[in-house]
């Protein structure tokens, strides 16, 4: 049976007004990726959300951008931000204790219920891991509800791999979890890299992770070419389009399906998504 994904499930009052939050912890993940833990000014979790949901995180004086909540606890939410533009560059200048703006949660969430009992195959490239990790962490927290877990993760350089401690020290020791990491090319700065070399899709194909008669669900997040090639590899391996999930990205401003720009046909990624199955995307008029 195909995975059932909820859509248009976020609701809320005053959706465009942010709250002021405080940065409590900053982790330098890579030279240009940092994770930020946020709490409200009185020290509480800014909002409750499901894994995969979005938050509009920014600086009042510079602007705001949409990110997937990359991790959360009862006390905080975390965003993992790559420095690529004006706002993210300013976010990278933040220090612990600084005040930021945050609104959300927006969008739908990973189908944690519908995936119960399934083997999970997470596929990500570069900064695509944080959105996928929100689901992966949920599976690890509810380990008995899910079968075998595979993570296939690639980056162009060793330095670009995010969450290295989890990748190399923690997750490989989780029960029935298999972590596969490749670099796109030999990395002259890290000649000691003994892992695999290869682009994500061909690397994925060498791992021989099949659809298991519909009992394996694939979860993809990466740039346009990674997404396209990995979808093709999975379909070639016999996966059903309904068992391939992805989280989509487009430029967003409002977060609630009104400002117009993140439409995919008549659907808005910020509101109806960001999570869709390939079977759903196939029925949409997609420019993504």
């Amino acid at each position: 049976m195909a995975i059932e994904i909820s859509h248009g499930c976020a609701k809320g009052e005053r959706p465009l007004i942010p709250q002021v939050c405080r940065v409590t912890e900053i982790t330098q993940e890579t030279p240009d990726v940092k994770s930020f833990r946020l709490v409200t000014l009185d020290g509480k979790k800014p909002f409750d959300c499901e894994p995969g949901q979005l938050g509009m995180f920014g600086l009042l004086s510079y602007g705001e951008c949409m990110f997937v909540v990359s991790a959360q606890s009862d006390e905080w939410v975390q965003f993992t931000v790559k420095k690529v533009g004006l706002v993210t560059e300013q976010l990278h200048n933040l220090s612990v204790g600084d005040e930021v703006s945050l609104r959300g949660p927006y969008g739908n969430w990973w189908p944690t219920e519908s995936c119960r009992g399934k083997d999970m195959l997470f596929i990500a490239g570069g900064i695509g891991l944080p959105p996928v990790r929100s689901f992966l962490l949920y599976c690890l927290e509810h380990r008995e509800d899910y079968g075998r877990i595979d993570l296939v993760y690639s980056g162009s350089k060793y330095d670009d791999l995010v969450f290295k401690e989890q990748l190399f020290d923690i997750w490989p020791n989780e029960p029935d979890m298999h972590v596969h990491v490749s670099l796109y090319h030999e990395d002259p700065k890290h000649p000691e890299w003994k892992g695999d070399i290869g682009y994500t899709a061909p690397y994925l194909e060498t791992l021989d992770l099949g659809p298991e008669d519909g009992n394996r669900v694939a979860v993809i997040c990466g740039g346009p070419s990674l997404s396209r090639t990995c979808r093709e590899s999975l379909l070639k391996a016999g996966f059903d389009e309904g068992n391939i999930l992805t989280t989509l990205e487009m430029r967003m401003k409002c977060g609630v399906g009104k400002c117009g720009r993140c439409n995919m046909g008549g659907h808005f990624i910020c509101l109806d998504g960001p999570i869709f199955s390939l079977a759903e995307i196939a029925t949409m008029h997609s420019d993504v």
Binding site: V20, V84, E249, R251, C254, V256, K258, N263, H285
Partner: protein
């Protein structure tokens, strides 16, 4: 009830002493709705304004909140509510239909846009049916009756020397009962309005489903300048940008009209742009008007006002596109 045309200006002046009344007029050569004040001459014979009255609900630039820091350097956010009682007097039925579309966008699907909702709550709509159509008007083809707007609070229909007045909502009934000194009992037959430009929407929505990769979009987009005029004069276009202006740590965050015709509209910080060329943007705009919105909200996002047809500098004409879609032969679906 009837409102004699002699009583129209006295009624308007009386209303304007209490609230802001917006009427069709010409200011600096631009036909638009403006607040009735000294020197503003309403023109209710104008077929339609160049600029739609959507800015009364969705201002071109709208302050949402300002922020500042206190002595301790801590940020504070102060919301704006600049909504106030407004009357739009003389809005045409096509523009009233556009408000049905805007209500769907801003008030449904889980999140209510408070800025729009506040303005909508305080807006009284007094529609005047048309007596003549421009050569670019095609409202009847889009299901709009040029002499009747079902969602107007008050409907005025031209009967010659007087307007037939019908209150259509509780808000409209309250208004009309307050206008009694200007009204007289009676009934008269409204003048009809002949709309000559016609297109057939029959089958267009369904047909577009199979036309995403049709060459029709490239042919259409070749001459487009991506100037965005069509989106600014469109009464239903509602896309907006959010930005801010600040001086050190004090500033204002606002939203302003944006346009899907611009490549920056969808350009992402990482460099990827899902709609990089005119072709994708034109296709998205017209699919949104004629198909996407219909699928999402059950109605067309084109009301047939003809503004984009009139103002496009390269005569890119949605009515011709609709004709072309109608006569386009969709290849049978492949057996994939």
């Amino acid at each position: 009830m009837l409102l004699s045309k002699q009583n129209l200006m006295p009624l308007l002046n009386s209303l304007a002493s209490d609230v802001d009344v917006f009427v069709p007029t010409t200011i600096d050569g631009v036909k638009k709705f403006a607040r009735l004040a000294d020197g503003v001459e309403p023109d209710f014979d104008m077929i339609n304004t160049t600029m739609p009255p959507k800015d009364l609900l969705f201002p071109q630039t709208q302050k949402m909140y300002h922020f500042d820091v206190d002595k301790n350097g801590s940020y504070h956010i102060h919301e704006y509510d600049e909504s106030r009682e407004q009357i739009v007097f003389g809005i045409r039925p096509c523009d009233m239909r556009s408000i049905v579309c805007l209500d769907e966008v801003f008030l449904t699907k889980g999140f209510v846009d408070e800025f729009y909702a506040n303005a909508r709550e305080k807006l009284l709509t007094v529609s005047i049916g048309c007596t003549q159509a421009a050569e670019t008007c095609f409202c009847t083809s889009m299901g709009v009756d040029p002499i009747y707007a079902p969602n107007a609070d008050v409907m005025l229909q031209d009967t010659g020397d007087a307007y037939k007045v019908t209150a259509q909502t509780p808000k409209g009934e309250a208004a009309v009962s307050a206008w009694s000194e200007f009204l007289s009992d009676g009934d008269a037959e409204p003048v009809n309005c002949d709309v000559t430009l016609k297109v057939s929407m029959e089958g267009v929505v369904d047909k577009l489903e199979g036309m995403y990769d049709s060459p029709i979009w490239e042919n259409l987009s070749i001459k487009c300048l991506n100037c965005g005029t069509c989106t600014y004069v469109c009464p239903t276009c509602h896309c907006f940008d959010i930005s801010q202006e600040n001086r050190k740590k004090d500033g204002v965050r606002f939203r302003c009209w944006d346009s899907c015709m611009f490549s920056e509209y969808t350009a992402m910080a990482g460099g990827h742009n899902p709609r990089p060329e005119k072709l994708e943007r034109e296709r998205n705009r017209f699919m949104h008007k004629l198909n996407f919105f219909e699928r999402r909200y059950g109605m067309s996002l084109c009301v047939g006002c003809g503004r984009c047809v009139e103002k496009c500098p390269v005569a890119l004409d949605i009515t011709r596109l609709i004709d072309d879609i109608g006569s386009y032969e969709v290849a049978p679906a492949s057996a994939e």
